[in-house]
């Protein structure tokens, strides 16, 4: 069956193309970009094929090299992976379209290694997503991490320091994960996720398993920048080159969240979390703090990218609040899964717009944005659509997330979090309204009046504009889609795969 091989193809395609980019780039630099785009396009098409195959034939199990698990490595693609794969490869494709101009401007003499590393980053992301083996996940986590360290370090200003901080914290995260896997290995003797799921239940009361859970959780939270462990994140997002900001704020961040959810629910299962470590309430409260903290810090920033970075911390809080509530509501993980996609769309669009502003005008301080709404109407329009969606204007994706989260909260009976959501929405309105106000309304006053008539349309190039606009429209298109019944088979299948969504 050819579909089975798709699971390994989707990892191998960007990998082989990254070698090709280096090899052919030696002779002709012009080939790098087309090769990258071919790889991203092919991965996206394969991911659609995988989703189709999973929906018709069920979970894909692929034994790499023909070695049966748990002795060999197994790739497993179920609904959750397939959903993530389509999303991640789609965003990577759009970022690839976006990359062309900004890389030409920012890093003209580093095109070859840049695209090679970009593809390696995508390889790492996909490798993490399809694997069914804990140690293999670590290896791909490191491919992802190493490529993002290097890509962040070549940014402007404080980028090397930001990258170094990320190296230190990222390595601690990866090593804690590895340590947790080691603890599991000592008490079970296996590394395969499905095998561990079978072996662990009699050992749930074992201190080693509980310690392993805590270390894996902390390690992956570090990678996902979940609240108290986010210290590396604002600097890294702010100083990275444009394309890299876009890809790490969307694809890389969500991959870490994916790994976290996968390990929590596929390896340890809901029973373990609710009965033996009871961490879900703690996750809820930390998420609530993250939502408020991220929003308050976002208000204090004048650098647009840094503001978005803090907003990302708040949004990881939203996702984790959905995870924390999953056992006490019949919606299960639905709000969290929705927000993984929703935040990716909104943050991708906003970072694209923010970097287009920098690309075209060199402005990064919000206070200098007067008249930008007229100067770059379409980019500003995309930014505003995404920020309206994030604030929660129906039927935007942010509204859907908040709606489902509130339903889940009411279901769980923890009414305090409704207040938290409303408060954080209020804070979001504050910081996005400030940007919108300066971009559109402030034109007539102050500096704007001098230039007044001098403002002419000076829009970013099509390559940078179109991906942002696509994402901006998807912010509302997907919002409407979530409200219909079309995605529910996927969401239900994911929930039932984790044993969620049914109130005992």
């Amino acid at each position: 069956m050819t579909y089975e091989h798709f699971a390994i193809f989707i990892v191998i395609v960007p990998l082989i193309f990254s070698f090709l980019v280096v090899l052919l780039g030696l002779f002709r630099k012009g080939l790098c970009y087309p090769l990258t785009m071919v790889a991203l396009l092919v991965s996206f098409i394969i991911s659609l094929g995988i989703l189709d195959s999973v929906m018709t034939n069920g979970t894909i199990h692929y034994h790499v090299g023909g070695w049966a698990p748990p002795w060999g490595i197994e790739l497993v693609v179920d609904y959750f992976n397939a959903f993530m794969l389509v999303m991640l490869t789609f965003i990577a494709l759009l970022t690839g379209i976006y990359a062309k101009k900004s890389v030409q401007q920012e890093l003209p003499e580093k095109i070859v290694p840049f695209y090679a590393l970009f593809l390696l980053l995508v390889t790492g992301v996909i490798g993490i997503t399809v694997t069914g083996d804990l140690f293999n996940l670590f290896v791909f986590l490191e491919i992802l991490a190493l490529s993002s360290y290097a890509l962040i370090a070549i940014g402007s200003d404080g980028a090397p320091m930001a990258a170094f901080k990320y190296v230190i914290m990222g390595t601690v995260g990866a090593c804690f994960y590895l340590l947790g896997v080691g603890y599991l290995y000592v008490v079970t003797g296996s590394l395969n996720m499905a095998d561990l799921r079978m072996l662990l239940p009699p050992l749930y009361a074992n201190g080693a398993v509980q310690t392993a859970f805590i270390f894996i959780f902390i390690g992956l939270s570090l990678k996902a920048a979940f609240f108290p462990l986010h210290a590396w994140q604002p600097d890294a997002y702010t100083y990275a080159p444009s394309t890299v900001s876009v890809i790490i704020s969307t694809v890389v961040a969500k991959t870490a969240v994916y790994a976290l959810i996968r390990v929590i629910f596929s390896v340890f299962t809901v029973d373990f979390i609710t009965l033996y470590v009871s961490i879900l309430d703690i996750i809820c409260w930390i998420s609530a703090i993250a939502m408020i903290y991220g929003s308050i810090y976002a208000i204090r920033q004048f650098n647009l990218k840094r503001m978005l970075a803090y907003s990302s911390i708040a949004n990881v809080g939203y996702i984790m609040l959905g995870v924390g509530l999953c056992t006490s509501t019949s919606l299960g993980l639905t709000p969290a899964l929705m927000h993984i996609l929703n935040d990716t769309l909104m943050k991708g669009c906003m970072f694209m717009a923010a970097c287009a502003f920098i690309y075209k005008t060199g402005l990064w301080d919000i206070r200098d944005f007067t008249g930008l709404g007229r100067k770059m109407p379409y980019t500003s329009f995309a930014f505003i659509l995404a920020s309206l969606a994030m604030i929660g204007m129906p039927p935007g994706v942010g509204f859907v997330t908040k709606l489902y989260l509130i339903i889940a909260i009411l279901d769980a009976g923890q009414y305090a979090f409704v207040a938290v959501i409303f408060f954080s929405t209020l804070l979001m309105i504050t910081y996005f309204w400030r940007v919108i106000e300066i971009m559109y309304i402030k034109v007539e006053e102050g500096e704007g009046s001098e230039k007044g008539s001098a403002i002419s349309i000076d829009e970013a190039s099509m390559g940078m504009l179109i991906p942002g606009l696509i994402l901006a429209f998807l912010c509302f298109g997907i919002g409407i889609l979530w409200l219909t019944d079309i995605p529910s088979p996927i969401l239900n299948a994911i929930n039932s795969g984790f044993g969620l969504g049914v109130i005992p």
């Binding site: 140690f135 670590f138 290896v139 490191e142 991490a145 190493l146 360290y149 290097a150 370090a153 200003d157 404080g158 090397p160 320091m161 990258a163 170094f164 190296v167 230190i168 390595t171 601690v172 090593c175 590895l178 340590l179 080691g182 290995y185 000592v186 590394l191």
Partner: protein
């Protein structure tokens, strides 16, 4: 109690080593020292894994003896008690390489930092960055 401590001494050793590494990573102000701390931290995990592979009672390195190869040709299975557990060794070969690669990238970043600020002390870099108005 004493017996309990002795029976798991390898784990206590790796925990101590790991704490030393973590301490250096957090407290030291010099970036190279932080990196050395990171290496100690990684090595402690490698030691932990490799020690898991050990078997007492005459087990040797996981390379089949000529005798067992001969047996394997005759479809007689080797006795697992004779050889150490090969899997942790395999995993750590990979982890060592990952650690080296991380160190390499971190050193490259350190070179970039040095070229930009002409120092590797964290507090001095902070002062320089404040003075330049960021």
């Amino acid at each position: 109690m004493f017996e309990y401590i002795v029976s798991k001494f390898n784990y206590w050793a790796y925990i101590c080593l790991m704490m030393i590494g973590l301490y250096a990573m957090i407290v030291k102000g010099n970036l190279v020292k932080k990196l050395i701390g990171m290496n100690i931290f990684q090595v402690s995990i490698i030691l932990f894994y490799v020690s898991v592979g050990a078997k007492s009672g005459g087990a040797t390195v996981p390379i089949l003896t000529a005798e067992d190869i001969h047996h394997a040709h005759a479809h007689v299975l080797a006795n697992p008690l004779q050889y150490m557990n090969p899997l942790p060794h395999v995993l750590m070969l990979t982890a060592i390489v990952v650690g080296i690669a991380t160190t390499g990238v971190a050193l490259a970043i350190i070179i970039m930092i040095y070229n930009r600020y002409k120092t590797l002390e964290e507090d001095e870099i902070l002062v320089i960055r404040k003075e330049s108005g960021v």
